[in-house]
Amino acid sequence: MSQQFYVSPEQVMKDRADFARKGIARGKSVVVLSYRDGMALVAENPSPTLHKIGEIYDRIAFAAVGKYNEFESLRQAGVRYADVRGYSYDRVDVTARGLASVYAQSLGTVFTAEQKPFEVELAVAEVGVSEAGDHIFRLNFDGSISDEAGFLAMGGQADAVQSTLERLWVPGALLAQALHWAVTALAAPRISTGASETGRIHLLDATTLEVAVLERNASRVRGSHRAFRRLGAADVAALLASGKQPPTPSPA
């Protein structure tokens, strides 16, 4: 048996955390935010099939950044957890809090016990009956969990995106407005670094965006218990075009 050098636990954890953080920062960002009629999940994602955003249950959605194979297995596990729970109890008994806490346990276990930590960061969003009832949970690679109010940004240069959202976001917005904020925030890192060189600010367009919403009144409006709905490129383009105009609060 080979003799191992002593490495302090602090150093081990720090190395693992740095490793995971680097992996997450390499990718592109995802934004989750509440608006008047629901919650929007917006990701910069050129692929139309490899999703970063997914449906978990009636009022719960999932968003992730990092390595696809890792967060995809977590997403599927989340769907299984929610479906088993909803089937054995009742549909209303599946909550984002419960799901987020099993995610936290799972990520925490992998962080300490496995060869390599997950290079992922997750968001679990649950739409409420009013904007005050919305929940957004942020889950880090080490299993730490936090409850965010109103909006969340993660992945890539998350700090720049988050600070832009902090500046822009107010409750009660319409979807077009919220989407415009999200796109502005996602483009923020590029504006601060790349724009000065090219001299042109390139905002994201519908083809490079993955957008889904959790509709607050899905059961009343669409007669469906599933609040999650993916927006197609055409819808996104139309919303982006209308969101650019100065916000005039009118029924959408």
Binding site: L74, A77, R80, V84, Y87, Q105, S106
Partner: protein
């Protein structure tokens, strides 16, 4: 992996994870399934049984209707039971047989379809759905041998297609595609006779509702376990239509009107049905 119960979370189960909720639950929580348990010898006390379901195609879709009666031996167990359910956006199913198991099987089937859709990001094909339902019916075969059988009727429309399709099952899980119309349950013999005379190609949706209701009235006329429309309590059959924009439940008003039409017509004619 076999025999080990794991939490269902990574690291977990990379291998052999499937898109099927039924497979997942069978492996990890078999106790949750409505079927698949060994019953001890002994006779089963009377349990509620669901009865007649009819289904028929019409121009641009397919329709399914079920009466509202559940019987327990010679007793009426329920006047309000609903035996036709939406399976997902583009399909519906109706159940005849032991109500307790059948209703859980419906719930399982609904989760199965939604689960696949969420995991895979795409809908199961109509054939695929029909096969999954067959697998569930087959899984219930040991219970069917004890007298707790469930016989579903499945109808739906392939996304983007213009015509609806019908599938019937036997207790062994055999799956048969039916053309034009079909019926299952104790009153099905009479309902099918009525459907043969009333159904026409390219029925309108409104006419299709009337045909389904009339077939159920005929079944209730001759089968004691099938409930007719209850004019006093204003209880109408549960009717769903599936068209290419999804499954919808036919409104109480539309059903009341359809029943009133048939009742008036038959009262005027004063014939032996």
């Amino acid at each position: 992996m076999a025999g080990t119960r794991h939490s269902g979370f990574p690291p977990l189960e990379g291998e052999g994870s499937s898109s099927s909720f039924l497979d997942f639950v069978s492996r990890n929580n078999p106790g949750l399934l409505p079927f698949g348990r060994d019953l001890p010898a002994g006779s089963m006390p009377a349990t509620p049984h669901g009865t007649t379901i009819v289904a028929l195609t019409f121009a641009g879709g397919v329709l399914m209707a079920g009466d509202r009666r559940a019987t327990m031996g010679t007793m009426i167990a329920s006047r309000h039971i609903e035996k036709v359910f939406p399976a997902d956006k583009y399909s519906v199913l109706g159940i005849a047989g032991t109500a307790g198991i059948a209703i859980d099987m419906v719930r399982l089937f609904q989760v199965e379809l939604e689960h696949y859709e969420k995991i895979e990001g795409t809908r199961l094909s109509l054939e695929g759905k029909a096969n999954r339902l067959g697998a569930m019916v087959r899984a219930n075969l040991p219970m069917a041998l004890q007298g707790l059988s469930v016989v579903p009727l499945f109808a739906g429309i392939e996304y983007g297609a213009a015509t609806g399709r019908l599938f019937s099952y036997d207790v062994t899980g055999g799956r048969y595609e039916e053309l034009e119309h079909h019926s299952v349950g104790s009153g099905s013999v009479f309902a099918r006779g009525a459907l043969k005379k009333l159904w026409r190609p390219e029925l309108s949706e409104e006419d299709a509702v009337a045909v389904a209701v009339e077939a159920l009235i005929d079944a209730a006329d001759d089968d004691s376990a099938t409930g007719g429309p209850d004019l006093i309590r204003a209880l109408w059959p549960v009717v769903y239509t599936v068209k290419n924009d999804g499954a919808t439940r036919v409104s109480q008003e539309a059903l009341a009107a359809a029943v009133a039409g048939i009742v008036t017509h038959r009262s005027i004619e004063r014939r032996e049905a």
